[in-house]
């Protein structure tokens, strides 16, 4: 079950942060997302393979901590998408498809001429779409 999703810009500025649990732990989620950014930077600067051919890198499990798991995805404009989930076992393919849909929603939100790049995403359609994707993901893993 997905606890929260976040989008971070290429200068590590937060663009979108949404939590789907009822508890008021926004601060905790901010903290987790912040720590994950360090892990992403580490992975990006020291690639495991000598030649990384993929442009949009699905970074996979960044680090498991407490009861959460954090997955990351990097677009070729260095926009980072992060997913914090409480599920114990999640299929890789599910997360990948989640990120693909999330990326598509992000691209549509950014194409809005009234969106200022590197500022927070205020689009309501984006928020609705993300909630829809999260619900579909939860339904997919439970069903």
């Amino acid at each position: 079950m997905i606890a929260s999703v976040a989008v971070v810009g290429h200068q590590n500025n937060p663009l979108y942060l949404q939590s789907f649990t009822n508890a008021n732990d926004a601060l905790k989620l901010h903290h987790i997302v912040h720590c994950s950014l360090d892990v992403i930077d580490e992975r990006v600067n020291n690639p495991k393979r000598s030649v990384s051919t993929l442009n949009e890198s699905y970074l996979g499990l960044l680090y498991p901590t407490e009861s959460y798991k954090v997955y990351g995805y990097l677009s070729n404009t260095k926009a980072k998408f992060l997913v914090v989930t409480t599920d114990l076992d999640v299929k890789d393919a599910d997360i990948r498809s989640f990120f693909r849909r999330f990326h598509a929603a992000y691209v549509d939100a950014v194409s809005n001429p009234f969106h200022v790049p590197e500022k927070k995403i205020v689009s309501r359609t984006f928020a609705q779409r993300v909630s829809g994707i999260v619900k579909a993901f939860a339904a997919g893993t439970n069903g």
């Binding site: 939100a109 194409s111 809005n112 001429p113 009234f114 205020v122 689009s123 309501r124």
Partner: protein, 230 residues
């Protein structure tokens, strides 16, 4: 755009740019060179990502619909930054649309080969089914004729200009597609119909479709500037 044969370099400084003339006067002007047609022909049709495969088999050059949408969005954004007032931007968009419309009508009549419209009802159908299809790739429906037959509603369910757009709260009074109303007004004025066009429904303000109310004010018979007996 230069008119007539290519001018020699020494004349370029003295040559005044040609002003857009009324269609009636243009008939007596010298022929525009073919290179002008080629420039407009390359923006002949706008296609969405679905039918580019089908369209690429045709010999006409096409542009991607997303480029068109993003260009229009950038233009509206820039107008808002320059003019700052929503009403002024609306008027400016209408004026720009008017300028496009007076030129577009010639291209439309040349490419579509429609015959002279008998009455205003036929004009409405031609705009909705042929004109909008040719230039925007969408068909609109005509409805809500008033009892005298002098005004109608043009309803668009789909509008390529507004893909991805969400109006922020500070610009709620903006008629984002006001350029369309200007285009129709300009085009109809060139075929001697003076109209007034207003927006009734706008999807960006939460409605379910785009509805334009087109009202015919009067028909202006064409005037030839040259008297026959002189």
């Amino acid at each position: 755009m230069a008119a007539g044969p290519r001018p020699r370099k020494s004349f370029l400084r003295h040559e005044k740019p040609r002003r857009a003339t009324r269609r009636s006067e243009r008939r007596m002007a010298p022929l525009v060179p073919k290179s002008g047609d080629a420039i407009f022909a390359s923006i002949d049709r706008v296609v969405g990502p679905m039918n580019t495969a089908e369209a690429s088999t045709k010999s006409e050059a096409l542009i991607n619909a997303e480029l068109f949408t993003l260009t229009y969005g950038a233009m509206v954004r820039q107008l808002l930054t320059d003019l700052e007032e929503v009403d002024v931007v609306n008027k400016q968009l209408d004026q720009m649309g008017y300028n496009i419309g007076v030129r577009l009508i010639d291209e439309f009549l040349a490419k579509s080969n429609v015959s002279r419209c008998v009455d205003f009802k036929e004009t409405a159908d031609v705009i909705a089914k042929v004109g909008l299809k040719m230039f925007l790739g969408v068909t609109a429906s005509v409805s809500n004729w008033d009892p005298e037959g002098s005004s109608f509603s043009l309803v668009l369910d789909d509008n390529p200009l507004v893909d991805f757009v969400e109006l922020p709260d500070t610009f709620q009074g903006l008629h984002y597609c006001n350029i369309l109303s200007g285009v129709i007004r300009g085009a109809l004025e060139m075929v001697s119909m003076k109209t007034e066009i207003t927006w009734i429904r706008d999807m960006l303000h939460g409605d379910d479709a785009y509805e334009l109310r087109v009202k015919l004010l009067k028909q202006i018979p064409e005037e030839y500037p040259y008297k026959d007996d002189e």
